[in-house]
C-alpha cells in the first residue's frame, strides 16, 4: 500500500512539469513580453524605451530559454523560464505588478478563503447527502419525483442569481447580514454566514441529484437484496450497506476539491468583498497582472494534484480492496 502511495506521488511530478511548461508557453510564447508591455502601456503611443523599462521592472528582459550571453549555469538560470516558471516549483512566485510578494499575499489571504470555503464544503456535503438519502428512501414515490424536479430547477438557475438574489433578500430587504466585507476573529461570523448559506444553497441541485444517482445505482445491487433478505430495516440497509459502498464514488468527486478550498471561490469572494485568494485572482485578472494569474494557475494545479493523492489515500480508508491489495 505504501508503494502504491509513493507511486501516486511519483506520478504527480511529470504532471506538474507539464502544467509548468503549459503556463510558460501560454504566458511567454503565445504572446511575447513585448506584446504584453504594449498592451498594458496602451497600444497607440508606446515607445520602445517604455517597453524596455516595463520589461526590466518585471524581469522580462531576459531570453526565454537559453541565455547565450551569460556564462556557466547562468546560461540556463538567467532566463525567463528559469526565473519565472521553474522557480514556482519551490513556491517562489515572484512579485505582483504592485511590487508585493505573491507568496506573502497567498499566505495572508488563505485564511479568509478557507473561513468561507471550508464550512461551505462541510455543511454542503452533509446537506446534499442527507437530501439525496431522503430522495433515495422515498424512491418511486411522488416525494422523490418532486425532489428531482426541484433539483433540476435549482441546477438550472445561474450561480450568479443565488449570490445576487441572496444579497438582495437577506441583506437589503431583511437586513440580517452585511452585504459585504470581512473581519477577522469573532466578528467574522456575521460576514461569512451569508456567503456560506448561499454557497450551500447554490450546490443543492446538481450535487444532491448526483448523489441520488449514486445511491440508486448502489441500491440496485445484489448485496442490498441480501441485506434485505436478512430482515434488516430499510434505514439500516441504507445507512449500513448503501451509504458505506456509495462513499467510494462520492469520495472520488469530493476529496479532490479539499485542497482547492484554499483557493476560495472567485464569485463569492468578489461579491462579498472577502479578502481571500478568490478575489485576489479576480482582481489580478481585471488588472491583467500576469504574474499573479500565472502563480494561481500553478498553485491551483498543485493543490488539485494534492487532491488526487488525498483521494487515493481516502480510498484506502473506505475500500478494503484497495487497502489490502
Amino acid at each position: 500500500m505504501l508503494a502504491y502511495l509513493i507511486r501516486r506521488i511519483f506520478y504527480a511530478v511529470p504532471i506538474l512539469i507539464g502544467v509548468n511548461l503549459l503556463t510558460f508557453a501560454l504566458f511567454f510564447v503565445v504572446n511575447t513580453p513585448d506584446d504584453m508591455a504594449r498592451m498594458q502601456l496602451g497600444i497607440k503611443r508606446v515607445t520602445p524605451e517604455a517597453i524596455e523599462k516595463w520589461k526590466q521592472q518585471r524581469g522580462y528582459d531576459k531570453p526565454l530559454l537559453l541565455n547565450s550571453t551569460a556564462g556557466g549555469a547562468g546560461k540556463i538560470t538567467d532566463t525567463i523560464f528559469w526565473q519565472k516558471s521553474a522557480s514556482m516549483f519551490v513556491l517562489d512566485f515572484g512579485y505582483s505588478d504592485d511590487g508585493r510578494s505573491i507568496s506573502r499575499e497567498i499566505q495572508t489571504r488563505m485564511m479568509p478563503s478557507l473561513a468561507i470555503a471550508l464550512p461551505t464544503f462541510m455543511i454542503g456535503l452533509v446537506v446534499y447527502v442527507s437530501f439525496a438519502l431522503l430522495m433515495t428512501l422515498f424512491r418511486t414515490t411522488a416525494l422523490d419525483m418532486a425532489g428531482v424536479a426541484l433539483c433540476v430547477l435549482l441546477m438550472s438557475v445561474s450561480g450568479l442569481f443565488y449570490i445576487i438574489g441572496g444579497q438582495f433578500v437577506v441583506s437589503k430587504l431583511w437586513h440580517l447580514a452585511p452585504i459585504s466585507g470581512y473581519a477577522g476573529g469573532a466578528d467574522s461570523f456575521k460576514f461569512v454566514a451569508l456567503p456560506i448559506v448561499i454557497g450551500v444553497a447554490g450546490g443543492i441541485g446538481s450535487s444532491s441529484r448526483w448523489y441520488r444517482t449514486i445511491f440508486l445505482e448502489e441500491i440496485g445491487k445484489d448485496y442490498v437484496r441480501t441485506a434485505r433478505a436478512k430482515g434488516l430495516s430499510e434505514l439500516a440497509v441504507l445507512f449500513r450497506h448503501v451509504l458505506k459502498n456509495a462513499m467510494i464514488p462520492i469520495l472520488t468527486g469530493v476529496v479532490v476539491v479539499i485542497p482547492l478550498l484554499f483557493m476560495g471561490s472567485l464569485l463569492t469572494e468578489s461579491f462579498f468583498g472577502i479578502p481571500g485568494l478568490g478575489s485576489y485572482t479576480i482582481d489580478a485578472i481585471n488588472a491583467q497582472d500576469f504574474s499573479v494569474v500565472r502563480a494561481m494557475v500553478f498553485l491551483g494545479s498543485l493543490l488539485y494534484i494534492a487532491g488526487l493523492i488525498l483521494t487515493d489515500i481516502s480510498y484506502t480508508v473506505v475500500d478494503p480492496r484497495v487497502r489490502l491489495s
Partner: protein, 641 residues
C-alpha cells in the same frame, strides 16, 4: 381459474407442511404476469426444487414469498401460509422478522451478493444481532462456529476478511453461514451453484444436504439444472413461462416425466449414449417474461399439441399420487396418453437418419500446437517492475485432425479461453509453436497472418456480446469476407450470405435485421454463420452453449454436428460441460492450471480417467439417470425418496 392444488405426495407424508403457496400471481406495472397462478407446498425438512429455464419466473416466485420484489414488480394475488401465518397479510415490520429469521435466502452470484466493504464477520454479526441478540465477543464466537460449520478452513482468520479475499465457493459458503445464523425453518436457494465450477458445485450441494440433515430445515431450491434436481430434490415443480407445468416427486419425475416440456428437457440433454443421433431439441425459444398468450404456453413449441392446446389453457390434472401436470394430454383421465411418438429430430435433419460414425481411419493433422506458453507479467512496487509471470497457458501441446472434434475441458481460470485466443493469435503467445496445415502462425507479420486467418475462426461464449448491436446481420456476415477479400463481387457475397443463413437455419430475411431482434439461440446461429462466412477449416468454439437454455443448447449442438458432417469441419470445443463433450467430441484434453493433464479419446478420458483431477471432475458432475446413487441418503429418514 379453477386450479386444483397439487396434492402432497404421500411418499414423503411424514413431514409437516411448512409453507403452503396457493394461486400466487406476480405482475409488472403494465399488468403482464410473470408468475401466474402458482401453487405448491413445502414440508418441513424437505427439499422442493423449482426447475425451469431462464425467464420462466422461478426467481420471482421466491422473491415474492420473501416480499423482496424489485421496484416495478408487484404481488397481485394468492396466498402463502407458513405454519398458518399468512405472509402476505403481515405488516412490513413483522415480515422483517420472517426474512432471515424463519426464511433465509441465498443467491446465484455469491461474488455480488456479499457487501464488498464489510468483513465476513460483520455481515454475519448483523444477523446474529437481529435474530439471537448476540453482540460483541459472543457474536464473533458464534460467527466462527458458523464458518466452521459450513466448512471454511481457518475460520478464526477468515471472519476478519473481506469478500474479495475469498474464492467463489467460499463466498457461497459464507452466504450459507449467514443464512444459517438466523436458524431458519426454510432456506430459499436461488441457483446457488450456477456461478460455480462443477467441483465447487458438488461441495456446495453436499454442504446444503449436510446442513439440512443436521438442522432439519426445508430447502426451496431454484435451478435450471436437471442434474442438480436429481441430486437434491424430494419434490420437483417444473416451471414454464410463469406457471408450474408439472409437479412430482423426484423419483416419479425421473422415472416418468409427463409433461411434453419435461420430457423434452430430458431428451435434450446430450450424453454419450445419444452420440450417433441428433438431440431432441425443442424448436423455438423460451417465451419472453410476462408475454400473455391464449391456450397452453408450451403449445407453440410442443410437437404433441393439437387444436385445443392453442385455444384453451389446460387445467391442473392430478395424474398419479403426488404427480400433477398442466397439460391437455392428461385431462380426461389420460385418454390421450397413448400418443404416437412423432419425429423428435431437428428440422435440419432427416428423421431416423442419424449421424455417421466417426471415420475409422485417422485423417491428416490440421492443427499442431506444441509447447505453447502464454504468460502475463505481474508488476509490483513503485516502479512497476515485473516480479513474476502468470502462466495462463504453460506448455500446451495438442493436435486436431481434419473433420474431428477436440474438446478442451477445464474449470474457469484454467487458461482454456486464453489458449483458444492464442491459437488465433488474438493474444500473443510467449513461446511455442502453432502450425496450421503445415504453416507456422507465430511470428507472422500482419499481412502474412491475414492470409491464414480465413482457415481458423472462433465462436464465442456470449451471443449477446459477440454481435455488434449497431450492425445488420448482413453487415456482420460480410465483414470477414470484406476484410479477407474473399467471396468475390458484392452480389456473390450477398448470395453467399443467403446460403449461410440457410445453413444455420435462419430465414434469409434475417439479414436485414439487427442483433437485438433475435433470441440468444438465434444470435449464436448468426455468430456461427459469421465464422463460416470465410469458409474456415477449423472452428474454435469457446463455450458456445453455456449461456443458452438447455432446450436451445441442443439446437446449437445439433447444428454444429450437422455442419461438421456437411463441411468436414474440425472443432476445438472449449467447455466445462462434460455431457456435451461426451456427446460431441472425438478426443478430449483436460486442462488444469495452464497445463493439459490428461488427453485421449473421449471414451478413454471420460470413462477410464487416469489423472486425479479428471477423476475429481467426473465425480463432481451430478448424475441424472443413475439409480445406484441415492442423493437422499443424507435426508431425514422420514422423507423416503
Amino acid at each position: 381459474m379453477n386450479t386444483l392444488s397439487p396434492s402432497p405426495s404421500p411418499a414423503s407424508g411424514g413431514g409437516e407442511s411448512l409453507l403452503n403457496v396457493q394461486g400466487l400471481v406476480t405482475q409488472l406495472r403494465n399488468g403482464a404476469r410473470i408468475v401466474d397462478d402458482i401453487s405448491f407446498t413445502i414440508k418441513a425438512g424437505e427439499t422442493f426444487a423449482l426447475l425451469g429455464e431462464s425467464g420462466c419466473g422461478k426467481s420471482m416466485t421466491a422473491l415474492s414469498l420473501l416480499r423482496l420484489l424489485p421496484d416495478g414488480v408487484t404481488h397481485a394475488g394468492g396466498t402463502a401460509q407458513m405454519d398458518g401465518v399468512e405472509l402476505f397479510g403481515l405488516q412490513e415490520r413483522e415480515m422483517r422478522e420472517v426474512r432471515g429469521g424463519r426464511i433465509a435466502m441465498i443467491f446465484q452470484e455469491p461474488g455480488l451478493s456479499l457487501n464488498p466493504v464489510l468483513t465476513v464477520g460483520q455481515q454475519i454479526a448483523e444477523v446474529l444481532a437481529l435474530r439471537q441478540d448476540l453482540h460483541g465477543v459472543a457474536a464473533q464466537q458464534r460467527g466462527v462456529e458458523l464458518l466452521d460449520q459450513v466448512g471454511i478452513p481457518d475460520a478464526q482468520r477468515r471472519i476478519a476478511e473481506y469478500p474479495f479475499q475469498l474464492s467463489g465457493g467460499m463466498k457461497q459458503r459464507v452466504m450459507i453461514a449467514m443464512a444459517l445464523a438466523g436458524q431458519p425453518e426454510l432456506l430459499v436457494a436461488d441457483e446457488p451453484t450456477t456461478a460455480l465450477d462443477v467441483t465447487i458445485q458438488a461441495q456446495v450441494l453436499q454442504l446444503l444436504r449436510d446442513t439440512q440433515a443436521a438442522s432439519g430445515m426445508a430447502l426451496m431450491l431454484i435451478t435450471h439444472d436437471l442434474g442438480v434436481v436429481a441430486e437434491m430434490a424430494h419434490q420437483v415443480g417444473v416451471m414454464y413461462a410463469g406457471q408450474i407445468v408439472e409437479q412430482a416427486s423426484r423419483a416419479q419425475l425421473l422415472a416418468q416425466p409427463l409433461h411434453p416440456y419435461t420430457q423434452k428437457l430430458f431428451a435434450a440433454l446430450p450424453d454419450m449414449t445419444r452420440r450417433n443421433q441428433p438431440l431432441a431439441a425443442i424448436p423455438g425459444n423460451v417465451p419472453p417474461l410476462g408475454g400473455g398468450m391464449r391456450g397452453c404456453r408450451f403449445a407453440p413449441r410442443c410437437d404433441k399439441a393439437w387444436a385445443l392446446c392453442g385455444e384453451q389453457a389446460p387445467d391442473w390434472t392430478v395424474v398419479a399420487e403426488g404427480q400433477g401436470v398442466r397439460c391437455h394430454l392428461y385431462a380426461d383421465g389420460g385418454s390421450h396418453v397413448g400418443w404416437v411418438e412423432r419425429s423428435d429430430t431437428h428440422h435440419l435433419l432427416n428423421a431416423g437418419d442419424g449421424y455417421r460414425c466417426a471415420p475409422p481411419i485417422l485423417p491428416a493433422s490440421l492443427l499442431q500446437v506444441s509447447d505453447l506458453h502464454v504468460h502475463f507479467p505481474i508488476r509490483k512496487g513503485i516502479l512497476q517492475r515485473v516480479v513474476g509471470q502468470v502462466k495462463a497457458v504453460d506448455g500446451v501441446s495438442l493436435e486436431i485432425a481434419q473433420g474431428r472434434t477436440l474438446a478442451l475441458v477445464g474449470e474457469s481460470g484454467c487458461g482454456k479461453t486464453t489458449l483458444g485466443k492464442a491459437l488465433l493469435q488474438l493474444i500473443q503467445p510467449t513461446a511455442g509453436s502453432v502450425r496450421f496445415a503445415g504453416h507456422e502462425l507465430i511470428g507472422l507479420n500482419g499481412n502474412e497472418l491475414r492470409a491464414r486467418r480465413a482457415a481458423m475462426q472462433m465462436v464465442f461464449q456470449d451471443p449477446y456480446a459477440s454481435l455488434n448491436p449497431k450492425m445488420r446481420v448482413a453487415e456482420i456476415l460480410e465483414e470477414g469476407m470484406a476484410a479477407l477479400n474473399i467471396g468475390g463481387s458484392s452480389a456473390a457475397r450477398q448470395a453467399h450470405i443467403d446460403t449461410l443463413l440457410d445453413q444455420v437455419g435462419l430465414a434469409r430475411a434475417a439479414k436485414w435485421r439487427y442483433p437485438h431482434e433475435f433470441s440468444g439461440g438465434q444470435r449464436q446461429r448468426i455468430a456461427i454463420a459469421r465464422a463460416l462466412a470465410v469458409s474456415p477449416q477449423l472452428l474454435i468454439c469457446d463455450e458456445p452453449t453455456s449461456a443458452l437454455d438447455v432446450s436451445v443448447q441442443a439446437q446449437i449442438i445439433n447444428l454444429l454436428k450437422t455442419l461438421q458432417q456437411e463441411l468436414n469441419l474440425s472443432y476445438l470445443f472449449i467447455t466445462h460441460n462434460l455431457a456435451v463433450v461426451d456427446y460431441l467430441a472425438h478426443e478430449v484434453c483436460v486442462m488444469y492450471q495452464g497445463r493439459i493433464v490428461e488427453r485421449g479419446t473421449t471414451d478413454e478420458v471420460l470413462h477410464a480417467p487416469k489423472h486425479a483431477y479428471t477423476k475429481t471432475l467426473l465425480a463432481a458432475v451430478p448424475v441424472i439417470r443413475s439409480a445406484q446413487r441415492n442423493p437422499l441418503n443424507t435426508a431425514p429418514s422420514s422423507v423416503a425418496g
